[in-house]
Symmetry: C2
Subunit: 334 residues, 2 copies
């Protein structure tokens, strides 16, 4: 299950992450590390936030998409790219394709947040909607890909996508070094596992004593279960969740091959934890974080990981939050 089939794309290495960092220089924002002294005082530790909502398109997804799409041959660029996504990978692919100058088609569930559908369209992509609970997005996408003879940009199970997302972890390691901070742990939201796999490549290389933890929402704890089982486990992906960005039923093949080797463990949080984390990000970091982007912060603020006396970095992975849901989450913030 975990061995790679012959001819399959190779696993990315730390060098692939460094190479992606060069390619993204001047294209993606090097997001800062944020710290909130009042929250540190409450938690009795030192917490840094890596704010990917500030990234171009509002999530880390632009990094991997650009690293992949910018490597297409001139012929491939003419035919364009296709992707399936609930919204953040969609925007990343659409924006990267526009910068590279190639057409993009994105297959999105029709119940994706309207804001994400509208933004993906605004970035110039052609949108094809499907029913998340009836249709097979893989089948729809494959039919369109054959028809258009274009390149599929996978959301996570791709060497260059993983390496691109890994620039987040690479920046964290460099920024911690500049601050003289040695984090005990880094917390990363996990859907298919691309962001954490790439980031862990860089973090384990540069900060070998730092634990990297996967964070998932309830019902979508496939990586947590897979780490325990030692092989890829699939969960029922029909339960509704506010964490639309993390509703993947199973870890990727490439991502899990890396994550089973590189991760220290996993935390699973509830929707109530997630809402409280969104409110805390509003108050302490002045940051709009979408539900799926807040599961790492939720793991710490819920007390599942005790920060007392420790230093940690949390990746807030995206900020494309629905206004009504966000307004509701912050109402009781103080």
């Amino acid at each position: 299950m975990n061995a790679l089939a012959p001819g399959q794309t190779a696993l990315p290495s730390f060098d692939d992450v460094l190479d992606a960092a060069k390619r993204l220089a001047g294209r993606a924002l090097v997001t800062p590390l944020l710290n909130a002294p009042l929250l540190d005082a409450e938690l009795g530790g030192r917490l840094f936030v890596k704010p990917e909502p500030l990234q171009k398109t509002g999530s880390f997804k632009f990094r991997g998409a650009y690293n992949r799409i910018s490597r297409l041959s001139p012929e491939e660029k003419r035919a364009g790219v296709i992707a399936y996504s609930s919204g953040n990978h969609a925007q990343g692919v659409a924006a990267a394709a526009r910068e590279v100058g190639c057409p993009a088609t994105v297959v999105m569930p029709k119940d994706a947040p309207p804001l994400k559908i509208a933004r993906t369209r605004a970035f110039g992509a052609e949108i094809v909607l499907y029913d998340r609970y009836k249709d097979s997005r893989e089948k729809i996408t494959e039919e369109l890909r054959r028809e258009k003879q274009c390149v599929l940009v996978k959301p996570f199970d791709d060497r260059y996508v993983i390496a691109g997302q890994g620039t987040v972890g690479n920046e964290i390691a460099d920024q911690c070094a500049a601050l003289g901070a040695a984090p005990d742990a880094v917390f990363v939201p996990v859907g298919g596992g691309g962001l954490i796999a790439g980031s862990a490549l860089a973090l384990r290389h540069k900060l070998p004593k730092t634990d990297v933890f996967a964070c998932e929402p309830e019902h979508y704890d496939d990586t947590a279960r897979s780490l325990v089982a030692g092989e890829r486990v699939t969960v029922d992906a029909t339960t509704p969740s506010i964490c639309d960005a993390l509703m993947s039923p199973a870890p990727g093949e490439l991502t899990f091959a890396l994550n089973r080797r590189l991760l220290a463990g996993a935390f699973v949080v509830t929707e109530a934890d997630v809402r409280r984390a969104m409110a805390a990000a509003f108050v302490h970091f002045k940051l709009v974080v979408e539900p799926g982007g807040a599961v790492g912060l939720a793991a710490i603020l819920s007390g599942r990981y005790a920060l007392r006396g420790k230093t940690a970095v949390v990746v807030c992975s995206g900020g494309n939050a629905d206004p009504a849901l966000f307004a509701d989450a912050i109402r009781d913030a103080a």
Copy 2:
């Protein structure tokens, strides 16, 4: 009116801003320049946001406060500092005093946003509340200052406070150079005028072709009126405003001496403009901006300044927004 009395604190120079930048290195966050391609497409120009909500304490005010307080003599540090503020300078002074290791007293209007009062207290300051419409904050502060024999940290009319805030403009100039962007104009929220005065010192030095514009909320357009009159004009400061951070009745003496020479003009925006700008910052920059911090963005989004074909930088100066007000402002965002 505009000449400086003999013996008064000297006006800051560009060198004072550079000196402040050195002092703040590793203390204040170098906030990034953010860009949102979809908003650029809507506006037909290129807009960068300097997000000071991400700054320590949630606004630019930490910069000036730390630059001032870190220069106190050991004796002055023992006696501590005092300040009056509706909330952002309060937090800046409280946090800077804590880092320097000296006590702080802050005189705040009792109708200041509860979040700002709570955060100032959490930073370790002693809070003294007063009635904005009855009491004289200057009188209360002066009595306490004499009693405690401590140092008043003025909110804007101070050489080192202005120079510290000016590091915002200095960073903007350097970041634009790194991006190869030559801004036509920079828009800065104005209360007493410290942020814009210091920033204009750096911007006019490094980017002499760039216009620097003051942005103010309706009813508190004292700098706009003063620029027209050529001397400091006082407005009625009893009208309620959601822009609590900008409710100063008149420009400072030092700040206006600089601003009358350095600014290209001023824009005045309505509360409806401000709410729409807060919603746009939520959607496009994933940033929590408080009303007073959003007046610069409001000047552009309201069409008062036409961005078409131009490049501009907007300073969003603070993010200590009341949750209910913020929730209300973003409800119609899309």
